[in-house]
Symmetry: C2
Subunit: 331 residues, 2 copies
């Protein structure tokens, strides 16, 4: 099942059920007016949403509309337009390993047991065509291509197996970062606030069963195609070199707290050890240039630049639709 | 105007308007079913809520109920039962100054210009009588008495003056911390996740005008009475030694992002330079014992311990009602 949200009338948007080809959709209506409301009573809402999904797929649903056209017109919000909690992990250690190797240093053993994680803002996420906005290019605007899981209620102390059962939906995240603000902010010791912008989500979020064999071991085994201004930046596979699975990251987040339905957990920027896969963020490209060529050459994003993130299945079908947006000066 | 929320039927609770004495209340009903909904359309909701408040105050409102009894029965939720963003500053530098002085060191000048701030979880805040829950006492359970501001929409880059106008409500926060988990977590460099528990809020939140002259310069000039098991821990004044005002902290949070209506910003643990005022958290008591007596003696909270936080005006009236709750083993 694939779910999306149209913008308005409220800040939580309007839940719609989308076909596999991302062409037609129908409003969920009585089944659940918003995704947040569906997540809060999933057992009741899910079968009704699935029935709607099958009707759309079979061309039997009444009141369908052209989802692709709505997306192109900028009327599609993030599937979950706002989340109460956004906890972003660091599943991929390749960049850390690469930097440490270059200086004949080792990655601390604890990095493989205890995930890095920060809590960020998700009170107003960008839709897949909404602009990335910043007051100045001087912030060092960067994309971060990730996979995100949206969960149901998770109890404090839940094991990864329990966390795995709580994964309701999977989607793509562009976790926008302001790189030049980060070193000074992290030096203060309290994590990111100013260093992170709003997230953008892909047009749809999919239930794990919809992903078939591509979703296994709590990882999504597909390449994320990342491009800036139409030029390939990389296509690392989210299932490769992921030290931590999404259920492990969810369990980490839940160690000392309940996670409420609608919490979103991210993998961190996808990165593979194979250098041929390229990058899902500009910072890693710059880091490698610094190490290998003595200076970073890839610029951060400028106003007018276009960022595209997309993930395709074996048949070439876009699984979640593309995040495809431009960088704009905030006004 | 004083606002509160009853628990249920949904996770956002039911908004009620409370009299100044915290005795009688009335459901806001059509004016706004929940506080979050009121914050999202404040210009429309505020006059209707104020009219209800005046009717309750004058004994003219229909359908009032005994708020004090509802509170005692555990039916009162946090005024805002869940917030999309919770950003907690560090307005009070006294503990840092004290520790540095003891080792003949100075507080870096930047600490007085650039506030420390972390983003925490607020997807399920505790009501004022709900238990603090932890899986084990070994986490080093601590209270942190703070003042919190709940804001309307704030634009990216807003100046403190603009942020001041966005303050809709003020309340008390117990920002529960798990002290023994914090050093290892902060050493990872990404801030707090496991080191912080859910927040508890006071029974009511008040509009700034309700606070009269006690709210000035973006600070609340009243003492926070903190007790553990009925024994005074301290009563530092939130208006004294606050290096940053709440509007300055809000502006810091908004530097690179819009803040959505319902965002909550905290002062950080209240602390005064005058040692006679005592403490609003156990950690500071332990720190001072460590410096002055060579070892920390005050224990962290144990299961069964009771924490009370309250703030009274010049007339002895509790402004927000007390946060008064016990520590329990999570089950």
């Amino acid at each position: 099942m694939k779910l999306a949200s149209l913008k308005g009338p409220g800040r939580d948007g309007t839940l719609v059920v989308v076909d596999r080809a991302l062409e037609r959709a129908v409003r969920a209506g009585d089944a659940a007016p918003t995704l947040q409301s569906a997540l809060e009573r999933w057992d009741e809402a899910e079968p009704r949403l699935r029935a709607l999904g099958e009707a759309v797929e079979g061309g039997r649903a009444a009141g369908t509309f052209d989802f692709a056209a709505a997306l192109a017109a900028g009327r599609v919000a993030a599937p979950l337009p706002r989340a109460y909690e956004w906890l972003d992990g660091s599943a991929y250690l390749s960049p850390v390993e690469r930097v440490r190797q270059a200086r004949n240093d080792k990655v601390p053993e604890s990095f493989y047991r205890d995930p890095l994680m920060y809590q960020g803002g998700a009170g107003a996420m960008m839709g897949p065509r909404d602009p990335i906005r910043a007051l100045t290019e001087d912030w060092g605007i960067d994309l971060e291509g990730e996979v995100g899981a949206i969960v149901g209620d998770v109890a404090m102390g839940a094991a990864p197996e329990e966390a795995a059962r709580a994964v309701r939906l999977v989607t793509l995240v562009n976790d926008v970062s302001f790189r030049r603000l980060i070193p000074a902010e992290l030096a203060k010791g309290f994590g990111f606030v100013n260093g992170k912008g709003a997230n953008a989500l892909a047009p749809v979020a999919a239930t794990p069963d919809e992903l078939g064999r591509d979703w296994r071991d709590g990882r999504l085994h597909l390449a994320l195609h990342c491009a800036v201004n139409g030029k390939r930046l990389g296509d690392p596979n989210a299932g490769v070199d992921a030290t931590f699975s999404l259920p492990q990251l969810i369990a980490h987040a839940a160690k000392t707290r309940d996670l409420a339905a609608g919490t979103m957990i991210g993998t961190g920027t996808i990165s593979n050890q194979d250098p041929a896969t390229g990058y899902a963020c500009l910072m890693e490209a710059r880091l490698v240039e610094q190490v290998e060529q003595g200076a970073a050459k890839t610029p951060f994003l400028a106003f007018g630049d276009r960022v595209t993130l997309d993930m395709k299945d074996a048949g070439g079908q876009s699984v979640f639709g593309a995040i495809d947006h431009v960088v704009e000066r905030y006004a």
